[in-house]
């Protein structure tokens, strides 16, 4: 018996480390880091090309431009965060853009209503947040229950609920922008954690925005506006939940083998419902932040963002088949899209080229992902 034991041990130790050639190793490392590498290359490209085409008068890597990019990606990223969880669990949520619009309208109505009823500004903002996230969560609950309990494909449920939500948003907003919000709301959406004043008497200002007027205002750069700070906090929570908690682990398990997850006693139905609530919830936060930023609610603000958010998720390496991907990938994906579009605008490239370039990057990202799978040897069908 002892002899057979050692033989067993040797055999088990033997096979797994086989076939790890340097070339294979290189490609695997590259495919893991490609999104970072691509982002770095992209930034380098725009830094050089923009300074060349403008004779050095415009620079891509300015403090102001970096902040503009960060502000621009917050809605795409927030939609992408919830979507990351859903897609890792082998689902899809097509309603997020429309849910963001609904949340924007709901929060604007709530802020206006509570403020006009005499509530202080801060309380009105809280009411707006609750209305946005609460309203969105109801949609998520609806999606999740129909997908998990009635076994209707997520694609169909979220497409249908998206249309419904869009109609409700237009009804609630009476097909117009919800305005008349207290002006102080603007500060919540546009003030920043830090300010930097260029030139004389300049320096950093923490939270307190220096009171300036006229020409001096052009020398002031806000750093990390509140929507960016809030999004960063949500990103941090998402990274933690997906990587370090049981909820995250079960999300991967459901995407990898739903039947296995069910057999080990995981409450798969409840988990799926939570995922769609989560996805709608991050869309709700995005809608709330857009209301703060524009001091108005819009029933169409998120309409174009669904596909961008899915593009960010896919560029970031989340597999549409489920089971693979992470939050940081989605952050990089969103950054790549924002850098691309901002850079192309600064190069005076016409807007339609942005679509062509972003579309190409999505396809390249998936190709790189698949080649990695081929190398590892995992078949998608099996």
């Amino acid at each position: 018996m002892a002899d057979s034991d050692t033989r067993l041990a040797e055999r088990y130790g033997g096979d797994a480390s086989a076939a790890k050639t340097p070339g294979r190793h290189f490609i695997l490392t590259l495919s893991r880091l490609w999104a970072w590498a691509f982002l770095a290359l992209l930034i380098a490209f725009f830094v050089v090309s923009i300074s060349l085409t403008t004779g050095g008068s415009v620079s891509f890597l300015t403090l102001r431009n970096s902040q503009n990019i960060l502000v621009a990606i917050t809605p795409v990223l927030l939609l992408g965060l919830g979507q990351t969880f859903v897609i890792i669990a082998a689902g899809i949520d097509l309603s997020v853009g429309w849910v963001m619009s609904l949340a924007s309208v709901l929060s604007a109505l709530a802020i206006r209503g509570t403020f006009n009823a005499g509530a202080p500004l801060f309380v009105a903002a809280i009411a707006g947040f609750l209305a946005a996230v609460g309203g969105a969560a109801v949609v998520g609950l609806f999606n999740g229950v129909i997908i998990a309990k009635l076994k209707v494909p997520a694609f169909i449920v979220t497409l249908g609920s998206g249309f419904i939500v869009r109609g409700v948003s237009l009804l609630l907003s009476e097909n117009t922008t919800v305005i008349g919000l207290p002006p102080g709301i603007r500060d919540y959406g546009n003030n920043a954690l830090l300010y930097y004043l260029h030139g004389e008497g300049g320096g950093f200002f923490f939270v307190d925005r220096p009171q300036l007027a006229g020409e001096a205002l052009r020398r002031l750069d806000p750093i990390l506006p509140w929507p960016v700070v809030i999004t960063a906090i949500v990103v941090a929570i998402a990274v933690f939940v997906l990587r370090k908690t049981q909820f995250g682990r079960h999300t991967y398990a459901i995407g990898g083998n739903m039947e296995a997850a069910r057999r080990t006693g995981i409450n798969v139905d409840r988990h799926i419902i939570m995922l769609y609530i989560l996805s709608a919830g991050t869309a709700g936060i995005a809608g709330f932040l857009s209301t703060l930023r524009f001091t108005a609610g819009s029933a169409v603000i998120g309409d174009a963002l669904l596909l961008q958010s899915i593009a960010a998720v896919i560029i970031g390496g989340v597999s549409l088949f489920g089971g693979a991907g992470n939050v940081i990938g989605t952050v990089i994906g969103a950054l790549i899209i924002a850098v691309l579009t901002t850079g192309l605008v600064m190069l005076n490239v016409e807007a339609f080229w942005q679509f062509i370039v972003v579309g190409s990057v999505v396809i390249i990202a998936v190709l790189i992902d698949q080649s990695r799978d081929l190398i590892i040897g995992r078949g998608r069908s099996g």
């Binding site: 130790g13 096979d15 797994a16 398990a253 296995a260 080990t264 089971g323 590892i376």
Partner: protein, 254 residues
């Protein structure tokens, strides 16, 4: 003879007009490997599913460790120590070995009075390592996804999971299917090791050489009925084939 771990008494299961399992009585004792044989459609899967909570018997009863049991769901059978390892193994291919061994029963550390609960990866890895060590299974790296492991290694993970969670009865459905010959031997050695540790194993199989390699006793089903129950040493391949195709039937003679 000691009290059996599992005792099936006069179990019958019908699907509409079809009687899939017909009045089967069967005992499994501690420390033995029992093979369950039969052609496709003989009723062996249905019988097993009635034991493991997938189906509920129409008549008869299942007694497990001295208690009459009737599991509404597979999870209930699992909680009572009946582990069923199906052909598709019920592993999440995208997760690593410890994640699979602890899937659904993750170890956690609590912070802020239980407000934040983090996965305790270190402890899960350590415990997985010792569970695998106890079965003398050795992987170079536990933290690679299951999909990069061989078929036999995956079987080993599924078995280690069952052992770690204190399986009192292990049901294995065609465990050597789709495996190369060396890997088949490894899995059979694991089954022997389980028996030596006192865990009875029910082996559902078509593969007669496996039966003669590891099973102490066997039971053959044909068209829903038990046609014979024997010690492996008292029979031969030819005889078993006759039972499986229905050419012999002890229940009629008796």
């Amino acid at each position: 003879m000691a009290e059996p771990i599992l005792s099936v008494r006069n179990l019958t299961k019908r699907f509409g007009g079809l009687t899939a399992v017909n009045d089967v009585s069967w005992d499994v004792h501690a420390g033995e490997v029992v093979a369950l044989l039969g052609d496709n459609g003989a009723g062996k899967s249905t019988l097993i599913k009635c034991i493991s909570g997938v189906h509920q018997a129409d008549e008869g009863e299942v007694i497990f460790r001295g208690r009459r049991v009737r599991f509404a769901r597979p999870v209930d059978a699992l909680a009572n120590g009946i582990e069923t390892i199906y052909q598709d193994l019920a592993l999440a291919q995208n997760l690593d070995v410890p994640s699979n061994i602890f899937l659904g029963r993750e170890l956690k550390r609590r912070y802020l009075g239980g407000l934040i609960r983090m996965l305790d990866e270190k402890r899960m890895t350590r415990e997985s390592q010792s569970a695998l060590d106890s079965l003398d299974i050795h992987f170079p790296n536990l933290l690679q996804p299951i999909e990069s492991l061989s078929g036999g290694q995956r079987q080993a993970v599924a078995i280690a999971r069952a052992v770690y969670w204190d399986a009192r009865l292990m049901i294995m459905d065609e465990p050597t299917n789709n495996l190369g010959v060396p890997e088949q031997h490894k899995v059979l050695e694991l089954i022997r090791r389980l028996r030596d540790q006192g865990v009875p194993v029910i082996l559902i199989t078509h593969t007669l050489p496996d039966v003669f390699a590891v099973a102490d006793r066997l039971m053959v089903m044909h068209r829903g009925r038990k046609v014979t129950e024997k010690k492996t040493a008292d029979t031969s391949t030819e005889e078993l084939v006759q039972y499986m195709v229905g050419a012999r039937d002890d229940s009629v003679a008796a």
